[in-house]
Amino acid sequence: MQRDLGSLPLAPALRARLVGAGFSTAQELLEVGPCELSKEIGISKEEALETLQVIRQECDSNAVRTGGDPTALRKCTALELLEQEQAQGFVITFCSALDDMLGGGVQLTKITEICGAPGVGKTQLCMQLAVDVQIPECFGGLAGEAVYIDTEGSFMVERVVDIATACVQHCQLIAEAQQEEDHHKALETFSLEGILSHMYYFRCHDYTELLAQIYLLPDFLSEHSKVRLVAVDGIAFPFRHDFEDLSLRTRLLNGLAQQLISIANDHKLAVILTNQMTTRIGQSQSTLVPALGESWGHAATIRLILHWDNNQRLATLYKSPSQKESTVPYCVTPHGFRDVQPPPPSQTPEGSEMNPRKRPRIEEDKQ
C-alpha cells in the first residue's frame, strides 16, 4: 500500500530527514534495509531499525484490517442495515406524543441531544429514560442497563425511586390485565432494587474527568454488555466555564463526539446528551440557541429542544435524519415524564391549559 510518510506516526525531525533524503511513501522505505537507511539519513542503525519496524507494523495492520476483517470497516448493504434497524427496539419515554414524534422512542446507535432552558425537564427526561431502558422485553422494552454520567450533580436518587416505582406499577397493571406467563416472570426481576442496581452512575467534576470517562467507557461496556443507554447529563457544563482556548474546546468536543458515535455503533446503544441554552444577540433581537457553538451542532444526530410556551412545556424535534420536524407538548408529573392529559369534559370549554396533573410553575421564571 502506498502510504504517504505524512500519515505515519514518526517523529517530526525524523520525518523531515526522510523527506529531505527523497523518501515519500512507506513503500519506498520498506524496500530499503536498515543499514542503507541509517547511512542515507544519518541516524543510528538502531533508530533505523525501529523506524522500519514501526512502518512495517502500520502497513501490516492496515493490510490485515482491509483484507482479512471486513467487519472492522463495517461495510454492509443498505438492505442489511434496514433489517437491523427494523429489528432494533426503541427506548420509550412514556410520553406517547414524544415517542411518536421520535418515531417510536429514542433510537439505538444514534446520539440524541436534548437542549433546553433551566428547569424545563432535561434531567427528568434522562432519569426517565434510564429507568425505561430496563423495562423487560415482554412489556415492549429493551431489558438493558443504563450508564448515567453526571457533571452537574443534578441526579437525585429519590426522584429515580419515584419514577421507577411508577414504572413498575405500570407494568404490573399491564401484567394483571393481560395475564401472561412471561409477564409474571419478568416482574420478579423488574423491581425497584433491580432497576437501581442496573443503573451505573459516574460523577465527573471537570472536563478532563468527563473526557477520561468517555474514552474509558468502551472497556466498561465490554464487561457490562447489557448496557443499552448512556446518558451524559450536562455535557455543556464543564466546557463552558474557564476555557480560554476555544479552538481546543472545539477539537475536544469533536473528538468526544466521534468517540460517542463509535461507542453507540459498536455496542448498539443509545447515547443521550443534555445541553444548555445560550443567547445569541442579533441585530434587532436575541434568540436562545443551544450552547457550545455551531460545530457542536453537527455532533448529535437527533436534536430535541425543550422550551416553554405560556406555562406549557413543549418539545421540538429540530434535527433528525428520519423524522419530520414537529412540536409536541409534554408534562412532568410526580410519576415522571408523561403526556399532557386533555382537560376533562366537565371543565369550562375555554380550552384553558391548566390541567390537574401538571406540576405548578412559578410565574417569574417565564422566558
Binding site: G6, E40, L81, I261, S295, G297, I305, P321, S322, E325
Partner: protein, 379 residues
C-alpha cells in the same frame, strides 16, 4: 513556441503513466494545461518559457522546471513523487559508481540531478559530460509529463465522463444537469439544514433510477435505512424493484461527513492534521478520476468570529479540493417554526455563475422536489 492547446476546463490532462509503478497523483481541477508541444528539452533551457501551471502532473516532475530553479521554484517543492532517489538501475547508463560520486557531491534525487549544471558536475565528479547528458535525457523522458492537446482531451472526456442526475430537477439545474463523474461536489450547511437528507435522496435516486451502485461512507451515524426505504418507496411501488441487487462498479461515492473526522486533527500543535487532510483529499480525487466516480462530500459550517457569517469548516486548504460547492440553508431563520423548505445556493462552480439559488423540499416522503410555484430562484 508552438501554439498552446486549449484544454477544456474540468480535468487535468490524462498523461499516460511513465514512471514505472507509481500511482498517479491527483491534479487540481481546471488545470490550464498550457504546456508547449515540444517534448524534448533543448540544450540551454535558460531562455525557454516555462509552463504556466505549476500543477502537479501525474506522478512526474515537469521537464521544464529543470531550466532554472529561480524561474520556476514551485514544482521542486511539490509533493513527494518527484523526489525519487537515484539508484542503480533507474535507467541504463546510471551505474553504482556514478551514484556514489554524485552523492558525494550532494546530488541524491532525480530532481537534484536534472536541475544541476552538468558541466560543473562533470568536473567535480570527474564523470564524462556525454554520459551525464545521456542519463539526463533518459530521466527526463522517463519522469516528465506528457502533454496532450486539447482536442484529444476533449474526445477522451466525451467518452469517459458521465453525468448522473440527482433526481431533483431544481438541484440538477443548480449543478448544470447533475453530478459529473471525476469531480467532487461539496454540500455545506448548518446543523439540521438537510445535508444528510440530500445525500440520501441522491443515493436513492441514483441507485433506483439510474441503477448504479452507490457507496455511502457515513461518519456521523446519520444514515437511517428506514428513511432510505421511504425515499425509494416513493419512487416505485414494486417490492422487487426496491430490493434488486446489482453487481457492478460503483458510480457514486457519498462521504457524510468529512469534517467530522478531520476536525479533531486540525489546529493546535498537531502538525500532521493538515497533511492527513490533504492526503484524504488526494485519495478522494484520485478515486474519482481513476474509477470515474461522482463524489459527494458533506462539510460543516462554522461561524466566522469577526463577521459573524457562516463559513465552511476545514479552512482554506480544503476549499480548493471540491470543484463545486453548494450551501444549504433553511428558508426561515428561527428554529421555532418547523419547515421542510431549504434553499440551496451555489458557492463555487466551474460551470455556472455562483449565487444561483433554488428551493428544495426535503421533508415528507417525497423526493427532493421544488415547491410548486416556487419563485425562489435568483440569478
Amino acid at each position: 513556441m508552438r501554439a498552446r492547446g486549449a484544454a477544456s476546463a474540468g480535468t487535468p490532462s490524462a498523461a499516460p503513466q511513465r514512471a514505472g509503478s507509481r500511482r498517479p497523483g491527483a491534479g487540481p481541477p481546471g488545470w490550464a494545461g498550457a504546456v508547449p508541444r515540444a517534448r524534448r528539452p533543448r540544450a540551454g533551457l535558460a531562455g525557454a518559457r516555462l509552463p504556466v501551471a505549476a500543477a502537479q502532473p501525474r506522478g512526474c516532475v515537469s521537464a521544464w522546471c529543470s531550466a532554472s530553479r529561480l524561474l520556476c521554484p514551485a514544482p521542486l517543492r511539490t509533493r513527494g513523487r518527484a523526489m525519487v532517489i537515484l539508484h542503480a538501475g533507474l535507467c541504463p547508463g546510471l551505474t553504482a559508481e556514478m551514484i556514489q560520486l554524485l552523492k558525494a557531491n550532494g546530488i541524491q534525487t532525480v530532481v537534484d540531478f536534472i536541475s544541476s549544471d552538468l558541466e560543473e558536475v562533470a568536473q567535480k565528479c570527474s564523470l564524462s559530460y556525454k554520459a551525464l547528458v545521456a542519463v539526463r535525457r533518459v530521466l527526463l523522458a522517463q519522469f516528465s509529463a506528457f502533454p496532450i492537446n486539447g482536442a484529444d482531451l476533449y474526445e477522451e472526456l466525451k467518452s469517459s465522463m458521465a453525468i448522473l442526475s440527482t433526481g431533483s430537477k431544481s438541484l440538477d439545474k443548480l449543478l448544470d444537469s447533475g453530478l459529473y463523474t471525476g469531480e467532487v461536489l461539496e454540500l455545506m450547511g448548518a446543523p439540521g439544514s438537510g445535508k444528510t437528507q440530500v445525500c440520501l435522496s441522491i443515493a436513492a435516486s441514483v441507485s433506483h433510477s439510474l441503477k448504479q451502485n452507490v457507496l455511502f461512507i457515513d461518519s456521523t451515524g446519520g444514515f437511517t435505512a428506514s428513511r432510505l426505504l421511504q425515499l425509494v418507496q416513493s419512487r416505485t411501488e414494486e417490492e422487487e424493484e426496491q430490493v434488486v441487487c446489482s453487481v457492478g462498479p460503483v458510480k457514486l461515492l457519498v462521504v457524510d461527513s468529512v469534517s467530522a473526522v478531520v476536525c479533531p486533527l486540525l489546529g493546535g500543535r498537531q502538525s500532521e492534521g493538515l497533511a492527513l487532510m490533504m492526503q484524504l483529499a488526494r485519495e478522494l480525487k484520485t478515486l474519482a478520476r481513476e474509477f470515474g466516480l461522482a463524489t459527494v462530500v458533506t462539510n460543516h459550517v462554522t461561524r466566522d468570529s469577526s463577521s459573524g457569517h457562516l463559513k465552511p469548516a476545514l479552512g482554506r486548504s480544503w476549499s480548493f479540493v471540491p470543484s463545486t460547492r453548494v450551501l444549504l440553508e433553511s428558508s426561515q431563520g428561527a428554529w421555532g417554526k418547523a419547515s421542510t423548505q431549504r434553499i440551496a445556493s451555489l458557492r463555487k462552480s466551474p460551470r455556472q455563475p455562483t449565487g444561483i439559488q433554488v428551493e428544495l423540499d426535503i421533508g415528507g416522503y417525497e423526493a427532493l422536489e421544488e415547491r410548486p410555484g416556487a419563485s425562489g430562484e435568483e440569478l
